[in-house]
């Protein structure tokens, strides 16, 4: 079994390599000097990071006691976080309403099929394209960003959610139906509680995703830290871009820790409990020892 798996992975890797070779048309010479180019670019343009992005902007005049709160880095990142937060919550609410209509075990085909097609259509446009569309329709600014991310969240989260709903055991649904509970009541009182662990996990993943993509959509003028990155790129101020990238990295790591804390509400068996840092560490140790046992 082990060897068969190894063989499959090897074949897939070989196929990927062959495909890549076809894509570059065998011209591997391009890679020559790539690393040295990167080193030169990094040393001359990016290093050291310019931490002026964390100092107060010259205009408008800062009225805060601490300069950091008037800085490009803080203001941009806060706007990105706000866009991600609002669009994740709005998208989650939209997605859960649509995914319960799209799940084949909850709705008849004539309802679920059109909703699935709608979700696919929404999902097929990347968040960047949604952002460009909304910038065209309503202009530059965070509202375009929020709408773009919300639409993408609905499409993406909707699919994840209806797949989870379709995988749930059938007997609670049948009991609810036979007893006479209405469809909305079945969704609210049976489907959502039964899948709360997955839903929470998906919500946190989507928030993290939206923060990371919030930086990208800012580049097309939809607000957030991406707007400033785009400006610095235009003026070839790569050292400031590098400082903002470090800031984004730190925020993503912090969100990952937050995600860990939120998910510690729910343990491995799906029980909801009070989260503590100790719980998280114990869970991590348990997981490690389990994987050690398997090995």
């Amino acid at each position: 079994m082990k060897y068969r798996l190894f063989g499959i992975v090897f074949i897939l890797f070989f196929l990927a390599w062959q495909t890549l070779d076809g894509l570059v048309e065998g011209d591997w010479g391009r890679l020559e000097g790539g690393l040295s180019n990167l080193v030169v670019f990094f040393e001359e343009s990016m290093w050291p990071p310019n931490w002026k992005v964390l100092e107060a902007r010259s205009y408008p005049v800062c009225e805060q006691d601490i300069e950091f709160f008037c800085s490009v880095g803080y203001l941009g990142m806060m706007e990105t976080l706000k866009i991600a937060f609002v669009s994740t919550i709005l998208g989650f609410v939209g997605a859960i309403s649509l995914s319960s209509l799209a799940a084949r075990n909850l709705m008849p085909l004539y309802i679920s099929l059109p909703v699935r097609i709608f979700l696919s259509a929404v999902r097929s446009l990347p968040s960047l394209i949604w952002a460009i569309l909304f910038v065209i329709v309503i202009g530059f600014g965070p509202l375009s960003g929020v709408l773009a991310m919300t639409f993408y969240t609905v499409g993406y989260l909707g699919k994840l959610q209806y797949e989870v709903f379709e995988g749930m055991p059938n007997d609670p649904l049948e009991a609810g139906r036979a007893m006479g509970l209405s469809r909305p009541s079945i969704v609210m009182n049976i489907v959502i509680p039964e899948n709360s662990n997955h839903l929470l996990s998906q919500l946190m993943f989507m928030f993290e995703y939206n923060v990371r993509h919030g930086t990208v959509i800012g580049i097309v003028g939809a607000g957030g830290i991406g707007y400033y990155i785009n400006t610095y790129l235009k003026f070839l101020q790569y050292d400031k871009v590098f400082a903002l990238l470090i800031l984004i990295f730190i925020v993503v790591v912090l969100i990952d820790l937050l995600s860990l804390a939120v998910r510690s509400f729910v343990n491995e068996e799906g029980d909801v409990r009070k989260p503590t840092w100790l719980n998280m560490l114990i869970q991590a140790r348990k997981r490690r020892s389990k994987s050690g046992d398997v090995a």
């Binding site: 609670p172 049948e174 009991a175 139906r177 036979a178 006479g180 009182n189």
Partner: protein, 235 residues
């Protein structure tokens, strides 16, 4: 159909693709407790699921004269509980159906929920997720849900199976509480002894026929040979 019938089956043919049992024509009245007996795979569960509206009959009709929506209690073989929700949440699903819209709706629901939980003796577990409970306790939760629902007709699929005597007594006393209020009960049962203890009527499915016996008629059948005669290969 008699006037006080809660359930009327008229030429009902059950099955998925092929009929499992010859057409059934029967009435079920308030306060009756019916045990369905028969070998495995004969169609007992299909009959219950058809009456519950989960399987379409191949032919014939059935009429539920239960009045309001939510007057049919159903406990499937695997109980149909929301495993990650608390005991109180699960029982409240029944109360939700029996308490109508009013100003005191939420208070009434809560009262009915905890009344059912107390009757089944699981008040200490009220705030625990169902998945942490033992099999017997889970069956008590499913019964409490139906008790809080106060249905006119209760359908249960082998829900006394694997229960110790203490749990059987607790669950049956709750069922009798419902029956006293006029609920009719139809249970699929594997153990004839249990059936004789609580049922007032026995439906035996054998050789593609449903045989309807009153308890007295059933007790007249020679006990020592009843398995051989009526349940065939059943252990």
């Amino acid at each position: 159909m008699s006037e006080d019938a809660i359930l009327s089956l008229k030429g009902l043919v059950i099955g998925y693709d092929l009929p499992l049992v010859k057409p059934i024509t029967l009435d079920v009245h308030a306060g009756e407790i019916i045990a369905i007996l028969g070998p495995s795979g004969i169609g007992k569960t299909t009959l219950i699921r058809t009456i519950a509206g989960l399987v379409r009959p191949l032919d014939g009709t059935f009429h539920l004269h239960v009045g309001r929506r939510g007057s049919l209690g159903y406990i499937p073989q695997r109980l149909g509980l929301v495993r990650h929700a608390t005991v109180a949440h699960n029982v409240s699903l029944g109360a939700r159906l029996s308490v109508g819209w009013s100003r005191t709706m939420f208070k009434d629901r809560k009262e009915r929920t905890f009344e059912a939980i107390r009757t089944l003796g699981i008040e200490e577990k009220a705030s625990e997720p169902v998945r942490r409970l033992s099999g017997g306790q889970q069956r008590r939760v499913a019964t409490a849900r139906t008790l809080a629902q106060r249905p006119r007709l209760m359908l249960a699929d082998e829900f006394l199976g694997e229960l110790d005597q203490t749990n059987v007594d607790i669950v049956l006393s709750a069922v009798h509480e419902l029956v006293e209020e006029g609920t009719a009960v139809i249970m699929v049962e594997h153990h004839e002894d249990n059936a004789k203890d609580f049922a007032t009527r026995i439906w035996l499915i054998k050789d593609n026929h449903l045989h309807d016996y009153s308890l007295e008629e059933w007790l007249d059948i020679d006990e020592s040979s009843w398995r051989e005669q009526h349940l065939g290969e059943e252990e």
